[in-house]
Symmetry: C2
Subunit: 437 residues, 2 copies
């Protein structure tokens, strides 16, 4: 994409309403625009990140056997009366009537509707197991929407629902989703800590929250220091091994019963980006759902549900990965794979080299952003640091005459002068290792 | 995908509420499930088609220089008061108040919001032209929702909005979108007729509706018989040439002024799948938007808007492409590229050949559906015809012993017995020609 043909409306000043880095950076980089309290437009660069996150989730869930569908944003309220949850979410549930006087609500979550979909067609244990998921906009009428997309009212969520014949099967699926979540967040460059958590209005008696550690997090958590060793790359662990490590939300934690010695116990704040629940038969029982078991008897199926805050993740990734100059995107979610800065647009040598870079990266299937505007160099550098693409390639008149460019890796700040073709090769090689793998 | 692990809840009987083929077929094939009047869940196979349609639209619009963003489903009503359209849509606009008593609406269309996004950052003619689009769920509270997804209340729409400095530029963009629409619908296997149309509540004085000819269409239209020659493959024309052909909706048509001789004039019913509008400065003027022109003076930008009924297209394609046995998907939108029918699951030779087919197609990047269930052959054939995948490959014990399968092309019904590898090669070759091209 050529910047001159793109829509990336930067803000020059820090917006007053933004209290945390991710909210500031998303507004300043032109990723979002607020339309009402907690309701945002996703401008092109914000949408690009959102779509990368969706893509990773789709790939990993389908690899784990989940099947995608899409439920509507609006629902009739009857099914919530049937499940007994009509009042459980209180004023957070946005209700209204249509022109015919029928009561509708904007989906805050979809347990009731998915049980309806399931029960209208699944009649036999032979059709199990089944794990159905969607990535769809939801609405919760928060009293105090804040922190940009981190606590919005209209938000994008992945919600998966599993159906199994026995509690044992359901718990096996729960463990599989737990491991899948670590893979999903790992691909986004995040190390998450899964803490034992309270099930709240969703219900069930087994539940883990996936937390990204960040100072601005709303949850307090206690965990084994080994998680920090993983985060800093000192230790590598499988999901199953991580599940053995101690981690708890503050309301579940007690210093007296903690199995971790004080010197290995860490306390931090976290941003919840995912939540898995073993539901048992709470919903299937309430809604009268059964399937025929192997012996012909009716069995009430066991459920699990598994959420990921897709739009919140955009903010959480920024909270976990930035510096004073701006965002530092992990490769797999970056809106563009590299930024090309032409310091003298109109100069033949510079234009030729910049286009060589641009076309070379595109030909390899990468998605570069070419700053072909007539802005000053200082402004172009500041913009590239702000929007945080993994690589910056600078083309100036002196280097261009020798066919050389300056390559900067945003995360380390490391710079090196290279022939054009080598810069392209290095970016492609890194991309293949970190994104296409 | 193995059918045993998929979720494709077929109906055995024709649902009473479905009056037209597409609605019947989508319910019977388990593509959708109604949740409330005009509000549907998209089950896995319906969603797969929807995603293919979105993908084609994304590709062609971005090729034409349009930039994707995403606006929220809910909007504050203030901006509709500013534009003067607060009452224009009447009861079709679903309005309600949030917990704080602020009035919101579910977006039926987004001219007001996009003008706000544009005007908050575009200040100079240098930032033009700009064509921003989204694919997002909308809601219109139809009095009588009907025909399944063809006239739903919650529906998926592509809406693009162009901004230009002059009327001449805006009309050039209009022509480009007109041509792009023919390419988009063409890739979906549709021949559309663009008729001069009324602009309705959207406004402006130049507008074309893109109609797919089908008996069940809600619009009456008159057109040059040459369009039929194009539809039957006798004549090939560019978008520009097609624009020269006569076509009009009935309210625009008059027998006295019609330039087409009676023997070349055709009358038919059509399904509207797209609509392009040249808006002039209707919205920019009403909302006080200007940019600085080349001479430093303030200029009110010119707009166009361009809609495609994404969810409606799923129904329209079925109306245009089916037979008594079921759907006949055009290759580019088919939920799976081929169906593999194993007539004797558990028989070693059959299982081996079926898996060879399945893996061979997957390895080439195709997406096959493998019917590995223990259903009877007759039922499997009927299901494959109903769901309308382009190819059916049948593996039976006699052929499998010789390494042969039966290949059927759904559209023509033509069948041929082939060695497994040749069947795979033929499907891949057709796919490359019709989808990957």
């Amino acid at each position: 994409m050529r910047l001159s043909q793109y829509f990336m409306p930067l803000l020059k000043e820090d917006p007053k309403e933004a209290q945390i880095m991710s909210h500031r950076a998303m507004l300043r980089a032109g990723m979002i625009k607020q339309e009402a309290a907690g309701i945002y437009s996703w401008l092109p660069m914000g949408l690009a990140v959102l779509r990368h996150i969706e893509h990773i989730i789709d790939e990993e869930l389908q690899r784990a056997g989940c099947v995608p569908l899409l439920m509507p944003t609006l629902q009739p309220t009857d099914i919530w009366k049937e499940s007994g949850r009509y009042d459980a979410l209180g004023k957070e549930m946005l209700r209204f009537t249509d022109r015919a006087g029928r009561e509708l609500l904007y989906s805050p979550t979809n347990e009731e509707m998915i049980v309806g979909i399931f029960s209208s067609s699944v009649k036999s244990y032979k059709q199990l197991p089944l794990n159905l998921y969607q990535i769809q906009w939801k609405f919760r009428d928060e009293v105090r929407p804040r922190f940009g997309v981190m606590r919005g009212r209209e938000f994008l969520m992945k919600d998966a629902y599993s159906f199994d014949l026995t509690a044992e099967d359901a718990k096996r699926e729960y463990a599989k989703m737990y491991d899948t979540y670590h893979r999903i967040f790992g691909r986004m460059g995040l190390v998450t800590i899964a803490v034992n958590a309270d099930s709240g209005a969703i219900g069930g008696n087994l539940s883990h929250e996936f937390q990204v550690i960040a100072e601005t997090g709303e949850s307090a958590l206690f965990y084994d220091a080994t998680f920090d060793d993983i985060r800093s790359g000192k230790v590598t662990m499988s999901g199953e091994e991580m599940r053995g490590l101690y981690a708890a939300a503050d309301e579940q934690h007690s210093a007296d019963n903690c199995p971790v010695p004080p010197e290995r116990l860490r306390e931090a704040r976290g941003i919840e980006v995912g939540h898995v629940f073993y539901l048992g038969n709470k919903y299937t029982q309430a809604m009268g759902v059964t399937v025929t078991g192997p012996d012909g008897a009716a069995v009430v199926p066991e459920m699990g549900c598994y959420g990921i805050g897709v739009s919140r993740l955009v903010g959480a990734i920024i909270e976990a990965s930035h510096d004073d100059a701006g965002i530092i995107w992990p490769e797999a979610v970056a809106p563009f794979d590299a930024g090309i800065i032409n310091l003298r647009v109109g100069d033949d040598a510079c234009d030729i080299v910049a286009v060589q870079l641009y076309e070379g990266l595109k030909k390899a299937g990468l998605n570069p952003l070419y700053d072909d505007t007539d802005k000053r160099g200082g402004e172009k550098f500041a913009t590239m640091d702000l929007i945080g693409l993994p690589w910056q390639v600078t083309v100036g008149p002196r280097g261009a005459a020798d066919g050389k460019v300056e390559l900067k890796y945003r995360r380390s700040g490391e710079k090196v002068e290279l022939p054009t073709a080598e810069a392209v090769a290095k970016i492609i090689e890194n991309y293949k290792a970190k994104v296409a793998a």
